[in-house]
Amino acid sequence: MVSTVTTSLADVASSNAALRAFLHGLPGVDRVGADQRAAMLGTRSIKTTAKAQAIDLAISMVDLTTLEGADTPGKVRAMSTKAMHPGEGAPRVAAVCVYPDLVHVAVETLKGSGVKVASVSTAFPSGRSSLEVKVSDTALAVAAGADEIDMVIDRGAFLSGDYLKVYEEIVAVKAACGDAHLKVILETGELATYDNVRRASWLAMIAGGDFIKTSTGKVQPAATLPVTLIMLEAVRDFRATTGTQIGVKPAGGIRTTKDAIKMLVLVNETVGDDWLSPDWFRLGASTLLNDLLMQRQKLTTGRYAGPDYFTLD
């Protein structure tokens, strides 16, 4: 059953017309309804023990990120150190996420820690380059020891209806990843419609992405609740169809513990337990971690400590 379905999904990418027919045949997304559902889940009240559990889970799912032109080996080293030991009793984060040329610094610092090294690639964040450049960008990061590659799709090709080009690029980058996990960034803020978010999610999954990720963090809006909801529905339906489980990573704009907990509620009530682990759900963020640590301390001690008690890395 599963294998025949997988075969039929492979046929889906035999031509741009076939791909288009498949993606446009997916059920539509009603914007008003999706927004309402996400807003309703945003009202869940997560308190006391549930909050403590959620905070630790969220910390363990963080992809601690720095993607600045001003990044230096020193900055990456500091962040990687924090990733391993975020705070007393707190779990380590899932991964650090850096540009390809700084992967080696993170790899060295994190050796043996269990924290993964992720690298953006494929002419991040715009994706405006040739396939050759994108593949060698990826190969550079993989050669430097990246465990995970966060690629961007060609939104221009997607919006102009050239789904096959998007597909083939993902396939090529996946091949360049070797053993590294591939996260496919849809940049939902540029796709604009929820129908597009659903189509791009399926496109990325069919092409072999291990994770689908909302955003680069360089475009607004980024990881909104409704967009994350639609992507969770996509991975749920994809598993039901193919038997293959795909991870989800909202990234960009998740700054507070409240934001993170809303994301976990979304996961809990849309796809359930199977996705509630760092293997299947990540939170891409830079400033979120300190707020999680602050709230964690508040829960343990009953008091808020000032920001000077949390390191800036």
Binding site: V29, G33, K47, Q53, D273, L276
Partner: protein, 473 residues
């Protein structure tokens, strides 16, 4: 497992007295009948003793309303508007308290009373406050108010139904004698306090509590000019008979058995949300609930699978827990009725399904329930259950969907789920229902008229049309 810890809304914001009187002529007074108790349906604990109004008490209330009518109807519209705006603001200020009180007395989840009922209650008063000085431009000429309105409201949306009745009546210059439902009088009595707080002239709003007999006395009183009732079709018939032959104006908002129609090109995930919201909102205690799901056969399997998965995530329990989706059934009597009809569904051959769900030991509870293999002839497809019970039927073509949807003695609401705009309009033209929702369900707004066809009643409430019921047009 990510389990949500209990997140109860505090009861400290409400102050429930041990007993309540009637609200007549701006004062709380003793009732002459035997007091009755109102209970918390989630725990069966007694909340308060409530006065019972006899026909003499009702007569006093009507007299007080008549006297107040002289003053109230002569006020400039802009003055009446001030009172209504003041009431609306007081409702907003006391929203949290009123929401908690509603959930305690009715059993509905706090999320719903907080996020749906109370905002709509305030919105209704704001909306009709805006009309009070603009009646001349409503299209009814220089129409005068009717006089004293006798209003009888149900227990499913106690404060919201009060707002639907009182706000337009007062805006148009009428005065009111309102009887809240026997099982849910507390928010109406809190509203009486708000009338005092707002310095509303005595007698403009009178609230008489009691059982069916009190309601009958309100309806039958010879000095009542207008009767407005929301409730069962059975009682609506009795009221129509009582009012027949008098010059009382009558509006009735009665039962329903709405079809929620899902086409194969619908946005499935949102349609499933709409189905859930259509039938499980307010424990299904909604006259316009989407209690009959009509699914196009070509998407039956996928819709049913998604629906069951979604229903399994519904959180049933303590109405005051902020994470509760489905609260308590309002009364033992209603629970018995839901059970009886559900058992009849099984006995008649429909397939019953409920998710695994633990129900509290005390109180009145009913698990969300789906019936598949339902035929039009089954009782559960024809009779209003007024509970969290959905009957699932199928159709093949749009014409068949319309035929099945209309094949009911009721006609209050309907839902259409399709991504095709032209089909929505085609369906809306043919569905005999007062409200047709497209790609949504159970959406209310004070600007939108609401009311039924056939046995679902007559007259419209809400919006510009809602003024007509309270003006001598």
């Amino acid at each position: 497992m990510f389990e949500y810890a209990p997140a109860p809304e505090s009861r400290d914001v409400v102050d429930i007295k041990s007993s309540y009187g009637l609200f007549i002529d701006g004062e709380f007074v003793e009732g002459s009948g035997k007091p009755f108790k109102t209970i918390d349906p989630a725990t069966e604990e007694k909340l308060a003793e409530i006065a019972s109004a006899t026909s003499d008490d009702v007569d006093r209330a009507v007299q007080s309303a008549r006297k107040a009518f002289g003053v109230w109807s002569q006020l400039p519209g802009s003055e009446r508007a001030k009172y209504l705006f003041r009431i609306a603001r007081l409702i907003q200020e006391r929203a949290r308290e009123l929401a908690v009180l509603e959930s305690i007395d009715n059993g509905k989840p706090i999320r719903e009373s907080r996020d749906v009922d109370l905002p709509l209650v305030a919105a209704h008063f704001f909306y009709y406050a805006g009309w009070a000085d603009k009646l001349k431009y409503a299209g009814y000429g220089d129409a005068r108010p009717l006089g004293v309105a006798g209003q009888v409201i149900p227990w499913n949306f106690p404060l919201l139904m009060l707002a639907w009745k009182i706000a337009p009546a007062l805006a148009c210059g009428n005065t009111v004698v309102l009887k809240p439902a026997e099982t849910t009088p507390l928010t109406a009595l809190a509203f009486a306090e708000i009338c005092q707080q707002a310095d509303l002239p005595p007698g403009v709003v009178n609230i008489v509590t009691g059982a069916g007999q009190t309601g009958a006395a309100v309806v039958a009183h010879p000095d009542v000019n207008k009767v407005a009732f929301t409730g069962s079709t059975e009682v609506g018939r009795i009221i129509a008979r009582t009012v027949a032959g008098t010059d009382k104006k009558l509006t009735l908002e009665l039962g329903g058995k709405a079809a929620n129609i899902v086409f194969d090109d619908a946005a499935i995930d949102q349609a499933v949300e709409g189905i859930v919201n259509g039938i499980f909102f307010n424990q299904g205690h909604v006259c316009c609930a989407g209690s009959r799901l009509l699914v196009q056969e070509s998407v039956y399997d996928v819709v049913l699978e998604s629906l069951k998965r979604r229903v399994s995530t519904l959180r049933v329990g303590d109405p005051l827990d902020k994470n509760t989706d489905i609260g308590a059934i309002n009364s033992a009597e209603q629970l018995a009725k839901i059970r009886e009809l559900s058992d009849a569904g099984e006995a008649e051959g429909a397939a019953r399904w409920s998710p695994a769900c633990e129900l509290p030991a005390k109180g009145f509870w009913f698990a969300p329930t789906l019936f598949t293999e339902v035929a039009q002839s089954h009782r559960i497809a024809r009779e209003e259950i007024f509970g969290p019970v959905l009957s699932v039927l199928t159709f093949r073509t749009p014409a068949e969907a319309v035929e099945k949807a209309n094949n009911t003695p009721y006609g209050l609401s309907a839902g259409v789920w399709t991504e095709k705009g032209s089909r929505i309009l085609w369906m809306a033209d043919r569905l005999r229902a007062g409200v047709v929702w497209a790609n949504t369900f159970n959406k209310f707004d004070p600007t939108s008229p609401f009311g039924g066809y056939k046995e679902s009643g007559y007259g419209r409430e809400g919006g510009l049309r809602g003024l007509e019921a309270y003006l001598d047009v």
